[in-house]
Amino acid sequence: MTNTSTLIAARPADRGPPAWTRWLDLGDRALAVVLLAPAAILLALIIVYPVLRLGYTSFFSLSLTSGLPGEFVGLENYSLMLEDPVFWETTWNTVLITLITVPGALLAGLALALLANLPFGVQWPVRLSLLIPWALPLSFAGLIFAWFFHSEYGVVNDVLNRMGFEGIIWFNSPNWAFAAICLTIIWKTSSFMALIILAGLQTIPRSLYEAADVDGAGRIRQFFEITLPLLKPSIVVALIFRTITALQTFDIPYMMTGGGPGTSTATLAMYIHQNTVSFLDLGYGSALAVVMFALSMCVTAVYLRAIRTKE
């Protein structure tokens, strides 16, 4: 870049840029600072300061309804939390949703990707079918599937009836409601998984399969010994992102059940939201958020390590 700088310095003044832009002609280091500053300021305001504030507030008893200034209570919010059955229930629900829907979305996504990788003459309907579920807002998906699982007029029970089964009153029983939520999340997230896996599938050289054909390896064996190992990097990245978003599950259960019956399908994110926005109990809400933060940082650590080993 030094060559260009001298060139710019040497050019006749009348060919130069308008004077008001000249202050932008900085050295590399100064320019870097200017270019990265807006991003850094935004991240500082929306992530770094709030994270520090989060940790700080979690040591205070701070309820906006009382109108009192916050009082330092040390670890009291955390000890309250350990004795709070709703905290344990919502955390367990969140972990369970993660454990069910992440592998579920992976398997469904793998199946969709393998189907979409067939040599179709026309590509756009297939591509669109994978994009629409991704683009549909989570909250919309929650409402749409609540209607699907409607006990009287829902299409799911209609299909069950036509197949000779009794319809299920999905949202009256904790287990069925939980199942309906998990199915919805898997449907919503598997398409994105499929797009990532499909992109991976299309980078696998055809010659590998031809060589395996020559060696007499069957299709199933080719799948497990060529396709799956070569897909691993793209699957790992998709899985980690999916895990982190699963830990934050809010929209779909909020729209489908509102956490009910009781709190049997409420997630940690819903409990944080309730404590913060409905009860205005910011201290306790912060302590809950610290737990979710810790859970998700563990996953991020695994992710960064996975990326580093890939490089």
Binding site: L118, G121, L130, L136, L138, D158, L195, R206, V290
Partner: protein
């Protein structure tokens, strides 16, 4: 999506009828929920509660759409969603173009560290910041404003867009920029007159992702903007549920209205969106 066959599975299912079934399964999986909501939105209340339920509406009606706009200020929800999504997309693009240019072109000493940080931020659970962001917005008197959503949404899309643009910028030959600078452009001039136009597809794809992210967000919108005139679409749509009644055809109509803008974007720019999504792992 190339048409190149992957013999691993395709020859197992290469017959025409099987391909037909596979395509059908994909399309039903992807389109059925949206299609079902469209059908529901065209049904009358009477048809909806008929047993056994009908699939395709017998006597399609648009009255649910009229009611969706008259029961709640749907046009205001749409306007808020549009403005918040457009503003945050614009801000995301501006900030990430600048940052990506620095990362792609300047020989930064901490480039690796900064990139790792950006990746770490991209996995950041924004939900956990609900409390402090709520406090900050409250202190700054920003609750019930577009800004309260625009700033967090920008941060939500910033890492992904920056990483994407870095890889696009790296694909543009430096000679073009140098030539522009010899012709009297400043470095910033070269960025906005040469690099950005050449990367237009990439910038555009990043913009679509940012727009969809903002259009979809629910939790922060629900928590920060409860004022009826500032609700975004996902928040407003819940208001159709009465205390006892759940007017599904009207809700469906409102959902269709909310799906159409994003669906149009996706239909027109599908190839770009797919390439953008798969360029790096992105939240889904």
């Amino acid at each position: 999506m190339s048409a190149v066959a992957n013999p691993g599975f395709s020859s197992l299912l290469s017959g025409r009828p099987l391909r037909f079934i596979a395509g059908g399964a994909l399309i039903v999986n992807g389109m059925f929920p949206a299609l079902w909501i469209l059908f529901t939105s065209l049904k009358t209340e009477a048809e909806l509660t008929a047993k056994p339920i009908t699939w395709v509406p017998h006597a399609p009606t648009l009255s649910n759409y009229m009611q969706a706009f008259s029961d709640q200020p749907l046009h205001i929800f749409l306007f808020n969603s549009f403005m918040v999504a457009l503003l945050s997309t614009g801000l995301t693009l501006l900030v990430s173009v600048l940052a990506a240019y620095a990362l792609a072109r300047l020989n930064l000493r901490y480039r690796g560290l900064i990139l790792s940080l950006i990746i770490a931020v991209s996995t950041f659970p924004l939900v956990t910041l609900l409390v402090p962001l709520f406090e900050i917005m409250r202190t700054l008197n920003l609750l019930n404003t577009w800004v309260a959503l625009v700033l967090p949404y920008t941060v939500l899309s910033l890492p992904v867009c920056t990483l994407m643009l870095v890889s696009f910028f790296e694909g543009i030959p430096r000679d073009l920029e140098n030539a522009a600078m010899i012709d009297g452009c400043t470095r910033m001039g070269a960025l906005f007159k040469v690099v950005v136009p050449l990367c237009a597809p990439g910038v555009f794809t990043a913009g679509i992702l940012a727009f969809v992210n903002a259009w979809d967000e629910f939790l922060l919108a629900l928590s920060f903007n409860s004022n009826p005139t500032l609700r975004t679409l996902p928040v407003g749509i819940q208001l159709y549920q009465g205390e006892f009644a759940f007017p599904w055809p009207v809700i469906s109509a409102a959902l269709v209205v909310g799906i159409v803008p994003v669906a149009v974007l996706i239909v027109i720019f599908q190839e770009r969106v797919v390439s953008g999504l798969t360029a790096g792992g992105i939240k889904g």
